[in-house]
Symmetry: C2
Subunit: 231 residues, 2 copies
DNA sequence: TGCACCTGTTTTGTCGACAATATGATGATC
DNA sequence: GATCATCATATTGTCGACAAAACAGGTGCA
């Protein structure tokens, strides 16, 4: 995955997040460093060390770490401290199991609740992605994929779904992608799957939309598992 | 719902939680008070006020409030403070949409991963519930329902699923049940549904287990909606 | 050698005080 | 009378210091 794609991804995912307090900024920075592996997976987070490194008080670090714990990016133990989560094949499988359930439901609800305008926008987005993919600019695929999934999830109009996925699981997904280095390909096939899902949503076919989304994520999981085993 | 059932519920849900730090205790207490309406839904949480009331420092209260925010029981705004979530028909519907997705997947995974012994235990549990329901001790139904769902979720062996549901959504579900006063009935029908789900799991029929669980939750949602509108 | 215990050090948990921001009331201006 | 600016108040954000708990190293004993 190119640096440009990473940047674009971040822009998409973080577009509505703005840091107000110092704790916000520290949280965002820490999250970025963990996801991108600057702080290694499985390593211990020392409050003192981080407070000197990021030039804020321990209270701010503690708040940031607590928020990281809510995204499941770190795990805290009382009187012991916090560790960055470890990446494992089992963890990846569990992550995709939850994605399948939640994003499947998101697609169903998107078919029910998205406005005609939102659907049209998403179709236009897909068209522009198609042009780029056709032109060989496949490095946009990662960002395009994220953009697509992001729109479906927000289209569900379900606050729980949105927050669990966007604030939580997606960062973990990205952490796996970046650190275990899976950029795809699966470009063209995934693109067709996106197209089919949007069509189902446009037809207001909830059942099909959910089924196609679940398959899409299942395929994606299988693809990643294959890479993990053979690569 | 009787006080006994409430107590039993809590025992089940909280059985593996033990308070280590002061923040733990305060968090549990605050969560209890919010779920049971001692602190009213939609009300503002003042850090100073709570710190005097619960006799701990503001830092402890802040940590507790942060954890409440991760369960979606309160919402924080920077430089403004935290409010207890408001209960609304829309919120209830969204909550059950997510439950349907997650617990459906949990049932599927339970059919895949639960050991024969765990399944046998669950069948025995259901038998004992059946005896009690038959004897007219229907006040155990609520606790029995919770116990059943809890076992399915943990049976999925999926840490994300477990934490999102057990640490998060279930408390919100309980908050709706307690404060909008829905104790059932639906006792006997729900019981049959439980039986069918366990049978599907015992047969290792993932597809059926998920479908039945989703219907079970959907029925439950419809039942509650009906109560909200007509009662 | 292996295990238990004690002790000094390090790290986390908790506290009270100060700084920065929002809130609400008061008054001025159109 | 309504709207906006200003200021006092109250609340949250941040900090540094102390208390309590875990950790590591060494010592004594079986």
């Amino acid at each position: 995955m190119s640096t440009l794609a990473i940047l674009r991804f971040y822009t998409v995912l973080v577009k509505n997040e703005q840091a107000i307090t110092n704790a916000d900024r520290t949280f965002f920075q820490l999250r970025k460093d963990i996801v991108e592996g600057v702080i290694p997976a499985g390593s211990k987070l020392s409050e003192m060390e981080l407070s000197t490194k990021y030039e804020v008080s321990r209270a701010v670090i503690r708040e940031a770490i607590n928020r990281l714990a809510t995204c499941h990016l770190v795990e805290r133990k009382a009187n012991v401290g916090a560790r960055v989560v470890a990446l494992s094949p089992e963890g990846l499988i569990q992550l995709y199991q939850v994605r399948e359930a939640l994003e499947g439901m998101a697609a169903r609800l998107a078919a029910r609740y998205m406005s005609d305008e939102e659907i049209a926008d998403m179709q236009a987005l897909l068209d522009s992605h198609f042009d780029k993919v056709k032109d060989g600019q496949s490095y946009y695929q990662e960002a395009g994929d994220v953009d697509f999934h992001y729109r479906i999830v927000t289209g569900s109009k379900n606050d729980h779904l949105i927050s669990v996925l966007v604030d939580g699981l997606y960062h973990l997904v990205r952490m796996y992608r970046v650190q275990l280095g899976m950029a795809g390909p699966r470009v063209s096939t995934a693109f067709d799957e996106h197209r089919h899902i949007v069509n189902a949503i446009a037809n207001r076919d909830e059942e099909l939309a959910e089924m196609l989304m679940r398959r899409h994520i299942l395929y994606s999981k299988n693809n990643i598992e294959k890479k993990l085993n053979h690569g």
